[in-house]
């Protein structure tokens, strides 16, 4: 899971590496967007270093917040396509094509949502109660676009307006709605510097460059990693204790055998080595079985998760080898005390043991 999140984060880092994202100054957290105006585009584009600015509306695909959510929730991304020629984060199409300017009622579907929406090129999908024609399906990117539906800005603006509380709906102009502006920079301009300049020259906005994204995501993913690390540590402790328990039982069961071995001249070191080898082997067995079951579980959960829109878990070779090696190491450490205890037994007492 941590591996999957790392990929998600590195995808985001790549995407944000060469642009500035603008959100409304009132929202402290850019993921919690509030209405921003499309009219700000002109002001933004007048600032030195800005090549082009594009308005977008981003919102949850589902009207209700999912009660349990892991990874990225499915999103609707509305775009005015103004940034198309400047975008360096290129996505490829598994089928169909990109949206073209001026189109309405058309969508491009991310790979993780294909099953959930039962989408194929040419078919109609229902999003927030409205029908849309699918014109393209994205290739898997292992990051945000996988769980997104991309639609023309005007469609997204309409959906967004309808999602607002009734008393506010009449007060906003749908064609002016935007949750974020994406600023593409001119060559040679540092996006982080530009972000500061933008905040200073355009009132009411909050601008974030690549560094800002890194800081923000860094905080979130540090917290998440800390939680996962905590769970891993608990599992480790439980696993370690059970190896210690197994080895202690094994030593007790074989007290007599240890007595025999000592009586025929086994040294302290030879006894310790024997039991350490056994506990290392238990670790290896445990690690390998754990990996197998973990992997099967991952496949099963990802299959289930695909229906819900996200493939959440990922087993990499690094993770696999690392976890088995670690299990062996854990086995060895856990076997230390029982082995040492076995080696210290008095041979006469051990031989009398029944």
């Amino acid at each position: 899971m941590a591996e999957k999140i790392n990929l998600l984060v590195s995808g985001g880092t790549t995407y944000f590496s060469d642009k500035v994202t603008i959100s409304d100054a009132r929202s402290a957290n850019s993921f919690n967007s509030s209405p921003l105006s499309v009219s700000k585009l002109d002001q933004v584009e007048q600032v030195d270093g800005v090549a082009v600015a594009s308005a977008g509306v981003t919102m949850m695909l589902d009207e209700e917040m999912p009660s349990v959510s892991m990874g990225m929730p499915p999103m609707i991304i509305g775009t005015d396509l103004r940034g198309e020629d400047y975008e360096t984060f290129q996505v490829t199409y598994a089928d169909g094509r990109n949206l073209s300017p001026g189109e309405v009622g058309k969508v491009v579907v991310g790979s993780d949502l294909v099953t959930k929406l039962d989408a194929e090129v040419g078919s109609t999908v229902t999003l927030r109660g409205e029908p849309f024609e699918v014109v393209g399906i994205l290739e898997k990117t292992l990051t945000a676009p996988d769980s997104s539906v991309i639609m023309p800005l005007s469609d997204a603006q309409r959906l967004f307006q309808r999602s607002l509380p009734e008393m506010m709906q009449g007060r906003v102009d749908a064609t002016q709605l935007a949750t974020d502006l994406t600023v593409y920079v001119e060559p040679g301009t540092d996006p982080d510097v530009l972000a500061t300049t933008l905040e200073a020259s355009v009132p009411g906005i909050s601008a974030m460059g690549p560094q800002g994204f890194k800081d923000q995501i860094g905080n979130a993913s540090r917290l998440l990693n800390a939680i996962i690390f905590g769970i891993a540590m608990i599992s480790l402790l439980v696993g370690g204790l059970s190896v210690i328990n197994t080895m202690t039982m094994s030593v007790a069961e074989r007290t007599r055998e240890i007595g025999i071995r000592k009586a025929i001249g086994a040294s302290h070191g030879q006894i310790v080595r024997q039991f350490l080898a056994e506990s290392g082997f238990i670790g290896l067995l445990g690690g390998a079985t754990g990996l197998l079951f973990g992997w099967l579980l991952t496949v099963a959960l990802n299959a289930a998760g695909n229906d819900a829109g996200t493939a959440l878990f990922l087993v990499t070779a690094r993770l696999a080898v690392g976890s088995v090696l670690f299990a062996v190491f854990l086995g060895l450490v856990s076997g230390l005390y029982p082995s040492w205890h076995a080696a210290r037994l008095n041979p006469v007492a051990a031989l009398r043991y029944e």
Binding site: R261, A263, I264, G265, A266, S267, V348
Partner: protein, 237 residues
């Protein structure tokens, strides 16, 4: 030549406050190289305790044990392991083979502990099993062998590092008379052929009969180093 000498051995097992057993109260023995000696006496008289102390499996509370002119009751650590492995061998009433190892591996184990390579250990283990007449049983597991055969594997294991002395605690105690005779004959022959000293704690008159003499114990003391139990074999000689 004196091989084993024990002087004034005492050993107290403390069971609780003011509750103890004096298993040995000043026992002394002297055994020559090449002898085959029985240690006899009623149950609880301290025979096993004596044997463990002579063989350095246990240490006395008082007194001294000498082996081959060297004091051994004070040995600890490496020197103690080396002595148990190279200079003495043990056989027990319950055979005490490692149940998960074949006859060959049980014997080879002792040789490997003594620092032989796996190949060398297997080679000497094979020769020693041949010496006890089990050349055709090397691959068998302990449970696949009769009691007499298991005890012969144990004898081979005790002998594989060519010790000066083999200690046995009731070596025929778990055997029927046919198997007992087989094992006694075997030890008698090895004693005669290799000059290995045997010290055997026993109740079995057959075993005592095969021994040159008996050391009698009672209440933790040696009460007679008599020649009276000496076998008909010796009287006839």
């Amino acid at each position: 030549m004196t091989l084993i000498q024990a002087v004034d051995l005492t050993k107290r097992y403390t069971l609780g406050k003011d509750n103890y057993v004096d298993a040995l109260r000043g026992a002394s023995v002297s055994i020559d190289a090449g002898e085959m000696v029985a240690i006899m006496g009623p149950s609880g008289s301290g025979k096993s305790t004596m044997m463990h102390i002579l063989g350095c499996l246990d240490s006395p509370d008082g007194g001294e044990v000498w082996l081959n002119g060297r004091r051994v009751d004070t040995l600890r650590g490496r020197a103690l392991n080396a002595l148990r492995r190279d200079e003495v061998g043990f056989i027990f009433q319950g055979f005490n083979l490692v149940p998960t190892l074949s006859a060959l591996d049980n014997v080879a184990l002792a040789a490997e502990y003594a620092g032989r390579s796996r190949g060398q250990a297997v080679e000497t283990a094979r020769q020693t099993l041949d010496l006890v007449g089990l050349a055709d049983r090397v691959r068998h597991m302990p449970t696949e062998l009769s009691g007499g055969q298991q005890q012969r594997v144990a004898i081979a294991r005790a002998l594989v590092n060519r010790p000066a002395v083999v200690y046995g605690d009731e070596p025929t105690g778990n055997l029927d008379s046919a198997n007992s005779v087989e094992v006694i004959t075997m030890m008698r022959r090895i004693n005669a052929e290799t000059g290995t000293t045997f010290v055997l704690v026993t109740h079995d008159p057959e075993v005592a009969g095969a021994c040159g003499r008996a050391i009698r114990m009672r209440d933790g003391e040696v009460v007679g180093l008599e020649a009276e139990v000496v076998s008909g074999r010796e009287q006839a000689a």
